[in-house]
């Protein structure tokens, strides 16, 4: 058994008993990264020196009895989360050499606990995409099949955890960017309730939808990481003041009498038969555990995808306007005047998908079109929220597939944006409504992982973890990706 294949709670036991040191753990991961990274391409930056330095500090903490659940645990952070002194590129040529002077609040929280940052992970440029193919630097491969995508936009983080390149990773989820790659890579990924985790330092894509969340190897680890990263932040006005629960207290196998809603809309057109079957078997598992399965409907969910693409693109068109070549980032070498400088800089610095969304969003906000698009999308948003509220009168959580398909081939959808957008069809409504959702592996279809999505009420992460944990215990997902040589 290699150290890098362990979960956070397993490593924690060893570190606490001083059976291994944080330095040993860190070296094990750094070795693993060197071994698998050439095949996976999950990382943009590897912070080896910083990691070794931090590992020594963590060992000091442990020695002094100042350690916590995450002390000495290695992490990989999505490259759209600001890290002081470490490049934060958003996988964009625009920020290829940008080194932030400050840490995101989540990074600050992790560093305080003694977490070890191993590197920064690849993503679709500015988190726009569902396959990580939109990165300006590299295409990350799915560890289960190197010819397939890991999902996106947090594909680097998901693949890194599936390939044991870190104990956990952080991602961001605007329309499914944590859950969908978690599903495609067979790991656990959670998008918390909007406002639970501070967005300060998360490079904004769509401010009203973005949320940071963890990728972990199991549900217990997810609870442990959540405990650390949540909480009100005075630097983020949209972060909410709530009492901090201990999420590990929800890790119980008992779900008797719990009402689980199954929405027919989540099994509609486009779903692969293998995915459908695997999820239905999972529902059966939960039913056998004593949960009550209730049929529900979220009628407006079919409008979630168009509403999402209008709202997210509108906000993105404004959020990405600051990349103008004036203060930092890419700047055109040759230009005629100011306007020309803006145009050349932004034409060169942004990739195709980012430009597409900036144009879409600019159009949707333009005078004369605002009411027809942006305003209407906001109305749909309200209707979807209401739908979920009604549904949650009948049930405690809602479950379904995370993604309609298993991992698709690299290049398969790259030139078909609409097909690509459909990858998020089951995840976007959760962001639209600001709800929490998790994806946990529930089986394989044609040898590729299938993800089960569990959606909860606002701030009801506890109940989601309860169901996820009960399922995980009853239905151990022991398969490991073979394409890179699984160690277990």
């Amino acid at each position: 058994m290699e150290l890098y294949s362990l979960t956070i709670h397993e490593l924690r036991e060893l570190l606490k008993k001083r059976e291994v040191s944080a330095l040993e753990v860190t070296k094990s991961y750094l070795e693993r990264i060197k071994e698998v990274e050439p095949k996976i391409d999950a990382l943009i930056t590897i912070t080896e020196d910083f990691a070794l330095q931090r590992a020594k500090e963590a060992d000091e903490k442990i020695k002094n009895g100042e350690d916590t659940d995450l002390t000495g645990i290695p992490v990989i952070i999505k490259d759209n989360i600001s890290t002081e002194g470490i490049k934060t590129t958003c996988s964009s040529k625009m920020l290829e050499n940008y080194i932030p002077p400050y840490n995101a609040t989540v990074v600050e929280k992790l560093l305080e606990e003694g977490v070890i940052i191993l590197g920064k992970s690849n993503l679709d440029e500015f988190a726009m995409g569902s396959s990580t193919e939109n990165s300006a630097f590299k295409t990350t491969k799915n560890p289960w099949d190197l010819s397939r995508v890991p999902g996106g936009s947090s594909g680097g983080s998901a693949a890194a955890i599936a390939a044991d390149e870190a104990a956990f990773a952080l991602g961001s989820d605007t329309g499914g960017s944590i859950r969908q790659p978690a599903s495609l890579c067979g790991v656990v990924g959670m998008k918390p309730t909007y406002g639970l985790v501070s967005r300060y330092g998360l490079v904004a894509f769509a401010s009203s939808l973005d949320q940071i969340g963890p990728f972990t190897k199991d549900v217990t680890d997810c609870a442990i990481v959540l405990n650390t990263i949540i909480g009100h932040d005075s630097k983020d006005s949209t972060s909410l003041k709530i009492d901090k629960p201990d999420y590990t207290s929800y890790l119980k196998e008992d779900i008797k009498g719990l009402r689980i809603g199954v929405a027919k809309e989540f099994f509609g057109e486009g779903i692969e038969e293998g995915v459908k079957e695997t999820v239905q078997e999972s529902i059966k598992v939960l039913q056998d555990l004593g949960a009550e399965i209730i049929d529900i409907s979220i009628p407006y969910v079919e409008y979630a995808l168009p509403a999402y693409y209008i709202i997210a693109s509108a906000e993105a068109s404004s959020n990405l306007a600051r990349y103008d070549g004036i203060r930092y980032g890419h700047i055109a070498e040759k230009y005629e005047d100011l306007i020309d400088m803006y145009m050349v800089t932004r034409s060169e610095g942004f990739g195709k998908e980012v430009k597409r969304r900036i144009m879409l969003g600019t159009y949707a906000l333009s005078s004369g079109y605002y009411d027809a698009y942006y305003k209407k999308a906001l109305k749909v948003r309200t209707l979807i929220k209401n739908d979920f509220e009604k549904a949650f009168e009948k049930c405690d959580v809602i479950i379904g597939p995370t993604s309609p398909t298993v991992a698709f081939k690299i290049g398969e959808r790259a030139n078909d944006p609409l097909a690509m957008y459909l990858a998020d069809i089951y995840t976007v409504s959760v962001n639209i409504a600001g709800l929490p959702g998790i994806s946990i592996p529930c089986g394989l279809s044609d040898g590729l992982p299938v993800g089960l999505q569990i959606i909860g009420r606002h701030f009801d992460e506890g109940k989601i973890l309860n169901v996820a944990y009960a399922f995980e215990q009853a239905n151990k997902f022991n398969a490991k990706p073979q394409a890179i040589g699984g160690a277990r």
Binding site: S82, Y102, G201, S318, A321, R322, D324, I326, R327, S367
Partner: protein, 475 residues
């Protein structure tokens, strides 16, 4: 055909809060370029704004003082446009739900009171500044980026440049009184844009409006409007049409000129700022702010008349600026003749301030110093006319009056023997006037006093001079 003008004003005032609107950087004017900045006001990737509560408080204070309705619920919006001084390429402002609306100020023109409506007051962030001193290109200083502003939009209720001038004076007065803004146009903490159109008298339709920019003083606003109204009328009278545009006031030529027209109309694509939550002003908070409002100019004026017995004219001038009124009150606290103080403030003090273009708080003379000077007169140390010389010196150098009197030897000659010798000499030297006086010509007395003053360089004690002169002449 007779024409009338329709004028509306947009005033931007920087608020006097300690820190910026969305971060904790200082709002201090000046400072080396790009030293009053942080990741938030530079709009670095991932940063978020957090609204400074003081900004809301100050804006509500201004709104209440300007008789506005304060919104219980308002929000911030993004105004999107590209310019190098705007770090995020959008300005966080307010669009459809401003904090304050439907207010007014009262102005007096030709003895008549007129209400000028205030459409709205909203809060927003200031942008940085472009410095064009570098020949290779421009430099940007972001110290000012994120300094809180209120934009006060008037109704188009003014019809003459004089009304516009009075409106601005009154507005500035109120903003200073409420200590919301220091309103220094030269530092850019108060900026004025104006819209003006003309139409035939009696018409209810509005003409095409012209926006005027580069207005660096209230007088410039007035002059620019005078010019622009005449220009528009002339165009119409010659059968032309007014084209909607922005024109720039050229102070040295005294004319308005078209600014380079933008190739396309701006579409700011306003939408609600998703990084901020709505602004809630509860009734309790509003009342708390209302109670903290200082005395407004018209109340102060009435009180000065009642409490200090000032004539209405004096009270009006003294309260026309809060700083002047405060100065006055500090003086009368230690000096029991309010009218004397107001005479000095309206007289010598105002004359020198006008001449030097200084505000009362920029002058080195303190209330204590003025009181000392007045007491020197009362105690017969110096005469009233010498006091004016002393004051001028105080105004210029900030020296204490007694020091100036000492240094320049300006003490009154109040020694009877010394003065009698001088007077005797004057009598001997002016036999003709002595003769006239003895023949009943009272005027001759004045001439002789004047001669004594001349001989003493004004330092002779006037009462004593009169007394001794009479004694000597009756000998």
């Amino acid at each position: 055909m007779k024409y009338e003008a329709v004028i509306g004003l947009e005033v931007h005032a920087e608020l006097l809060t300690e820190s910026k609107i969305f971060c904790s950087c200082t709002t201090k004017f000046g400072g080396e370029p790009n030293t009053h900045v942080c990741p938030v006001c530079l709009g670095l990737p991932g940063t978020l704004p957090v609204l400074n509560k003081k900004v809301v408080e100050y804006a509500v204070r201004a709104g209440l003082a300007l008789n506005c309705t304060i919104a219980n619920f308002s929000k911030m919006d993004r105004k999107n446009y590209f310019y190098p001084d705007l770090p995020k390429a959008y300005q966080i402002s307010q669009y459809d739900l401003p904090l304050c609306s439907n207010g007014y100020v009262e102005i007096e023109v030709d003895g008549k009171v007129k209400k000028i409506g205030i459409k709205r007051i909203h809060i927003e962030e200031d942008a940085g500044k472009l410095l064009h001193e570098n020949t290779d290109g421009s430099l940007v200083d972001y110290n000012r980026a994120g300094v809180p502003l209120i934009e006060i939009v008037s109704e188009p209720d003014m019809t003459t440049p004089e009304e516009a001038y009075q409106y601005l004076t009154k507005l500035k007065n109120i903003l200073e009184y409420t200590e919301v803004s220091d309103c220094k146009m030269q530092e850019g903490s108060l900026r004025v844009d104006t819209n003006v159109s003309v139409r035939p008298v009696g018409s209810t339709e509005l003409g095409t409006k012209i926006e005027l920019k580069n207005l660096n003083s209230f007088r410039a606003v007035q002059k620019a409007l005078e010019y622009e109204i005449k220009r528009q009328i002339k165009v119409l009278e010659e059968g032309g049409t007014i084209v909607q545009e922005t024109r720039r006031w050229n102070e040295s030529k005294g004319i308005t000129e078209p600014m380079r027209t933008k190739e396309e109309a701006h579409d700011y694509r306003y939408f609600p700022e998703p990084d901020l939550v709505p602004i809630i002003v509860t009734d309790e908070w509003k009342e708390e702010i209302r109670k903290s409002l200082p005395e407004m100019p018209h109340h102060k004026r009435e009180r000065f008349i009642a409490e200090y017995g000032l004539p209405e004219y004096d009270a009006k001038i003294i309260t026309s600026s809060k700083k002047m009124a405060d100065f006055f009150e500090k003086c009368v606290l230690e000096y029991d003749s309010p009218k004397t103080v107001s005479n000095w403030l309206m007289g010598e003090f105002s004359r020198l301030m006008n001449e030097t273009g200084k505000e009362i708080d920029e002058v080195p003379v303190t209330p204590q110093m003025l009181v000392k000077l007045l007491k020197l007169i009362d105690n017969g140390v110096i005469s009233g006319s010498i006091a004016k010389t002393v004051f001028e010196e105080m105004f210029g150098t900030g020296k204490e009056p007694e020091v100036i009197v000492e240094e320049k030897g300006l003490k009154q000659i109040a020694n009877e023997n010394e003065l009698r010798e001088i007077i005797k000499k004057v009598i001997v030297e002016n036999p003709k006037s002595v003769e006239d006086y003895k023949n009943g010509k009272e005027k001759a007395m004045g001439f002789l006093v004047g001669q004594v003053m001349k001989a003493t360089k004004g330092k002779a004690n006037p009462q004593l001079t009169n007394q001794i002169l009479k004694e000597e002449l009756s000998k």
